[in-house]
Symmetry: C2
Subunit: 217 residues, 2 copies
DNA sequence: GGGATATCCGGCACTGAGTGCCGAATAGGC
DNA sequence: GCCTATTCGGCACTCAGTGCCGGATATCCC
């Protein structure tokens, strides 16, 4: 991702960028929803943003990457939130609280979030492109778990915690997309509670009477 | 996957296939390890198997799919094993036992398995192609969990169980690839035990004293 | 034996993603 | 006005993936 350096620094040297990653993302999202992902070429997206095809690939490595822009940015917020979590909070509680906190969206941002996730969870080419983006997200969780467990981030348990956390969140995302009835964070909290409980007692589907802070008995 | 129908039926009607998915897979695996994934074209693979480029795409939809052939086949064995598991075994125990059982490989198959997983876990283009193949695997677990929980397979908990199960297994796979010290099933059992325990008490990394069948206390 | 039929293969042309290269355009610094 | 830094646009190229069609090779049936 060697995108142009448009860091709000008004006195840069060279030619000013004629677009932005955000602008390309909006154009792509609109075209993808209007006429489908496969029937939209990179040429179309670039033209809609007023730049050339070649310039699109200076902002994003692939056609699919344009839809992962916001998701990739979330990784930074995830790491910041992990750094701010108090040490007394237990590992799985901390993960749940951080993930839920990071996924609070302003009401005006929700429609775009839904549109993006709708595409990601339905278009095969977009599902297929998820891997590298998920990896960075998982690693943020794995690094936190590793620091708590006193183990290296690439060992079994930190790795497993990072990946299962994302897996549970993806189930919550999909459920939110499919039903559209309540807040995203509700599903995230449910899924991460179930994960921390080892999926015990999910037989009823009644989450409200699940024990929040289960301790040694 | 509209591959030729070479179902061991010796008296088919038309022209016999001049290669097989398995043969193409072996050629691809050899070339990928020898000269790298990106530096191997589909033309190269087809030539190594003695067929044309066009024919390769009759056996596999994409260049990456050739390495997922065995993995896709495992899904069938997974479903069969789930059908055979006794009803008295608890949900998460059943999942762990089935997954571990399906992943017992003969010693002579291990080197090829390692080579394939080595590629999958290192080459970005292959990681990126994992999505659809993982989905089918996850769905097999989700369907089983749904039948046990009395819920639909596309609801939150079955979905979460299917995805977190694969996530834990992938952590085990990666650990096995990285260390190469013990059997794959050892790591799988560890990771799925940890998942069923909600990742409690993983601080020590000592798995042997974890309680196997933890029940209500 | 010989046609009818079924299946697979090879080749060609085409679209579109992604890349390397280079010169042009537009800014600030001196 | 010249130098430098940065972005942009265009061109040419490789390669993945697809649609199409004729040819090759098998079995079936008469």
């Amino acid at each position: 991702m060697n995108a142009p350096r448009h860091n709000a620094d008004s006195h840069r040297r060279g030619r000013p960028p004629s677009t932005s990653a955000r602008e390309l993302e909006r154009a792509a999202l609109r075209l993808f929803t209007e006429q489908g992902f496969d029937d939209t070429t990179v040429e179309d997206i670039a033209a809609a943003a007023g730049v050339s095809r070649r310039t699109f690939f200076r902002y994003f490595d692939t056609k699919t990457a344009v839809l992962w822009h916001q998701f990739d940015g979330e990784v930074q917020r995830l790491r910041a939130a992990f750094d701010a979590v108090p040490a007394r909070t237990s590992l799985m509680d901390a993960i749940r609280e951080v993930v839920v906190h990071v996924n609070h969206y302003r009401a005006e941002d929700v429609p775009e979030l839904r549109a993006r996730m709708q595409l990601i969870s339905t278009v095969p080419a977009l599902q297929a492109s998820a891997g590298p983006h998920y990896d960075a997200w998982e690693r943020a969780v794995s690094d936190f778990a590793a620091s708590r467990l006193g183990q290296r981030p690439d060992t079994l348990y930190p790795l497993a915690i990072g990946r299962t956390t994302l897996a549970a969140c993806r189930a919550a995302f999909d459920q939110w997309i499919a039903t559209a009835d309540t807040d995203l964070t509700t599903y995230l909290d449910l899924a991460l509670q179930a994960l921390a409980n080892g999926f015990e007692g999910e037989r009823t589907g009644q989450a409200s009477r699940r024990v929040r802070s289960r301790r040694r008995c």
